[in-house]
């Protein structure tokens, strides 16, 4: 059935809360207000304030209490309104949630799902627009999920909630209104399985989140010029589906990586390194990265538009390889 990315996330939350009594939601304005972007709308009416909890503006307590509750047998789904705010609850996620199982010798599980929102596009400027996914890929113990379509959002969120590990589920604010076909009823997508969003023989473009859509537009344009682009959406950065990446690069011989995060030490560097280490012989051209410049996200509309990788920049990067 056709639904928006936002509705798909809402459906996943509703279905998992119905299926499992230990699933609860907490976060700022997730209850009566329905979430800052409306994603949790209607859930407090359906499940009550015992399972959909509005919290004070206390990110540290949101994540810290969710970690404690997860270790004590619940399955919290915590919302951090903007990914930028992860800086004020980083200890709870990084030093507590991520490491607890290892530090305790495997004797605890922390089935915490942390939903949060990345991305520029709303003129929200430097503290409400960042794409910080790479930070979380540097944390052993955490899984990192970045859905690009409504169907992926639903299937991956269900899997994230059912996963016994801490998962950060990164939504993109400019995708909430995007519509797509979503399978009805129980629908899961395994974490760690990439999706080839478009097949092509000439060049592999690995793109994440909103950039998947721009890569697909670029691919369509280039098809008219005789360049067949394969668009690979990893969907989860940890665990990362190396096999699909390497198979695609083996087939095409060319690789362009697109992400909205700044280029320096972005996840594109990791992808490029994987191919350099394990698929160097497949390459017929240098690896290219298309990403944001090494600057904070600007406010002014033309600056913000120039900051986020565009279809034109993706096309330019692809063409430079031929």
């Amino acid at each position: 059935m056709e639904m928006t990315y936002s509705q798909a996330i809402n459906a996943a939350l509703r279905e998992e809360m119905k299926r499992d009594d230990t699933v609860y939601i907490l976060g700022e304005d997730v209850g009566i207000f329905g979430g800052c972007f409306g994603v949790t709308a209607g859930l407090i009416q359906e499940f009550g304030p015992e399972r959909v909890l509005d919290t004070p503006i206390s990110e540290t307590a949101i994540v810290g209490s969710a970690v404690g509750a997860a270790a004590a047998g619940l399955r919290p789904v915590a919302e951090i309104m903007f990914m930028d705010f992860m800086t004020v609850c980083m200890d709870e996620f990084f030093n507590q949630a991520a490491k607890m199982r290892y530090m305790f010798g495997g004797k605890v599980k922390v089935p915490l799902t942390l939903r949060t929102v990345c991305g520029a596009g709303l003129g929200a400027a430097a503290q409400h627009s960042q794409s910080l996914e790479a930070w979380f890929t540097h944390m052993p113990g955490v899984k990192v999920v970045m859905p690009s379509t409504p169907a992926d959002a639903k299937g991956l969120l269900v899997s994230s909630i059912r996963d016994d590990n801490p998962v950060i589920f990164i939504e993109h604010k400019m995708l909430y209104g995007v519509t797509g076909e979503v399978p009805e009823g129980e629908y899961t997508i395994p974490l760690g399985k990439a999706d080839i969003k478009r097949e092509g023989r000439d060049v592999t473009v690995v793109a994440t989140s909103l950039m998947v859509h721009r890569a697909l537009v670029a691919a369509e344009t280039l098809a008219g010029e005789g360049i067949e682009v394969e668009v690979v959406d990893p969907r989860t950065l940890v665990p990362f589906d190396k096999e699909t990446l390497l198979q695609s690069v083996e087939k095409t011989g060319r690789l362009v990586i697109v992400h909205e995060a700044v280029k320096n030490s972005g996840f594109g560097a990791e992808i490029a390194a994987i191919v350099a280490e394990e698929g160097f012989d497949f390459l017929d051209a240098p690896v290219k990265r298309v990403a944001a410049p090494f600057a904070p996200v600007p406010f002014s509309p033309p600056l913000e538009a120039a900051y986020v990788p565009s279809e034109e920049k993706i096309i330019e990067a692809i063409k430079s390889l031929f």
Partner: protein, 320 residues
Amino acid sequence: MAPNKEEMLDMYRKMLLIREFEETVANLFSQGQIPGFVHLYVGEEAVAVGVCSNLGDKDYIASTHRGHGHGIARGASVEKMMAEIFGKIDGYCKGKGGSMHIAAVELGFLGANGIVGAGLPLAAGAAFANKYLKNGGVAVCFFGDGASNRATFHEALNLASIWKLPVIFVCENNMYGISMSQERHQNINDIADRAVAYGIPGVSVDGNDVMAVYEAAAEAIKRARAGEGPTLIECKTYRFRGHFEGDACVYRSEEEVNEWKKKCPIQRFGTSLLEMNIASREELDAISAEVKEQIKNAVEFARKSPYPDVSELTTDVYCD
């Protein structure tokens, strides 16, 4: 409800067990037999024992970097604790956590913690889980005076107060955050006063009086189990040893340390057990001898246990 003779003797035994454990660790550490670094609980035994003697099966505790005493008071095996501190495979965490991360989740012990103040929101969360599951359990968080200045303290107390969580925040005010004395690190005398800001009860007790701690905890736990929400208990106490083993303690005088040693919580409890005719000198001496034997065996157990195989390096990072 006052503890009976058997319970009081068990409290005395646990306090001695902590003392003997810690002094043994100090000794072994100074000989280079223990890796890393250790923060010892000597002098503060009345707090952990006074509180934990009130706890049941469903209850959780969250601890600090100075966590050995809390684990022992919660009933953890001294063998597995010692093995963990040695970094051995038979330790509670297979040697992967060490002194600062000892945990025994099966006993409701959510771990020592290397981050000061990190336990407060964790305990609030465990208390939330107990409330959500309606199992009657509570959670206790131990933390120091230094941690009472962290954001985690304020956020956790606020959240627990509005959600009426069954959690007891036990501040072990040992008068120093590493080198910084309480009078230098905060502008109040009683940390319990901070409870006012969250509309919850705050009590300040003599943390070297195990019965005073026991009674304050009993009241707070009763309140928590009745659904009336959290309490902040401040236990004024003192660490006889440095912040960590090897600390030269340049920030405090020997006179001050000696004054506090005169207020030793174990001697004090022993004396009152004798005065109240609850125990005889022979009974207390027998407990002392048993405790020494138990710790000797724990060291033996830890020494004999192998180190983890290198194949353990990347296991337990994720649940499968």
